[in-house]
Amino acid sequence: MTNFSMQSSPDSTVRTPESRSTEFVPVEGGSEGTSAGTLLVTAYFVMWAVLLGFLFMTWRRQGRIEQRMAELDAELRRAPRKP
């Protein structure tokens, strides 16, 4: 995979018009600057969100089924029957 970075002077304290980036060049290997802590917390947050979302959907669907069962039972009690 290819990332794009700015080509700049190694000495970041001295800024001259000549030291500014004049082009973008691709570098291999990507950025190493991403915080490991942020990645760790993001990974666990996403995994728990997926799991809890799935549990919530299951619980809600089970509730809807039970509610419909109760409605159906009530409808059948009220419905006219064949003699």
């Binding site: 995979m1 290997g29 991403t34 990645l39 760790l40 995994m47 997926v50 006219p80 029957r81």
Partner: protein, 236 residues
């Protein structure tokens, strides 16, 4: 009925306890690995690898339910096949979202078309296809059989994922098993072991819940049909 409820509650309690211990070990006890392996981000491994294993386990439930359904159709077998595919998708998503976040630190990129990553993505997509098929094509006999056949065929890919690292190489590490260097610290081994135990319990719990849900949904559909027939007879 009471025995089932008690068993379910016990399984739930054990799962919650195992996950509490696992999270404590990951964030407070287990040391971080070398920088080349991702440093602190390597701790994603204790959820990532067990999620992959839980996907295999759910896929195995899907395979068993599908194969049994094709041999002798029944509502409970269909429900098990359906539940297995749904849980395989959930664990697959957990694995495919956590892996790239770890890879970003260890490899410098989120994704590489490595044999294991590619075959895993393919397998998750097969289970997604089964879930989508079952959700949108109705619950008729033909649809059930087609989904069951897909469930059997989809599981064939699982051993390919497992052995792809050994056969075709790639970026994905082989720490555990044949050719792997193992985990150097005893706490790493313990944490991974508890990770596998926690995910096994979670997979059993989720497959159980989704199977029960699928059985209830089928029972409701049948009851609605019977009720319609009864009320139609009553009105005549």
């Amino acid at each position: 009925m009471k025995t089932k409820t008690l068993l379910f509650s016990t399984l739930f309690a054990f799962t919650a306890f195992a996950f509490s211990v696992l999270l404590y070990l990951i964030f407070f006890v287990v040391p971080q690995a070398q920088i080349a392996a991702g440093g602190l981000a390597q701790k994603i491994f204790y959820f990532h690898a067990p999620s992959g294993y839980a996907m295999y386990l759910s896929g195995a439930f899907c395979f068993v339910g599908s194969a049994l359904y094709l041999a002798a159709p029944s509502d409970s077998r269909n429900a098990l096949a359906r539940a297995g595919a749904e849980c395989a998708v959930v664990f697959g998503i957990m694995m495919l979202t956590s892996g790239p976040l770890w890879a970003k630190k260890a490899w410098g990129v989120y994704w590489a078309w490595d044999p294991r990553l590619t075959t895993t993505l393919l397998s998750v997509l097969v289970y997604v296809a089964i879930v989508v098929l079952r959700a949108f094509s109705g619950d008729g006999e033909a649809e059930r059989k087609f989904a069951a056949a897909l469930g059997v065929l989809g599981t064939v890919n699982l051993p390919i994922i497992h052995y792809s690292v050994q056969k075709w190489g790639g970026n994905h590490p082989t720490v555990i098993g044949k050719g792997g260097g193992g985990l150097a610290h005893p706490m790493m081994k313990l944490t991974l072991g508890i990770g596998f135990l926690s995910m096994t319990l979670l997979a059993l719990l989720l497959v159980w819940m989704r199977t029960r849900l699928a059985v209830s949904a089928t029972a409701l559909a049948r009851a609605e049909e019977e009720a319609m027939a009864l009320t139609a007879d009553g009105e005549e």
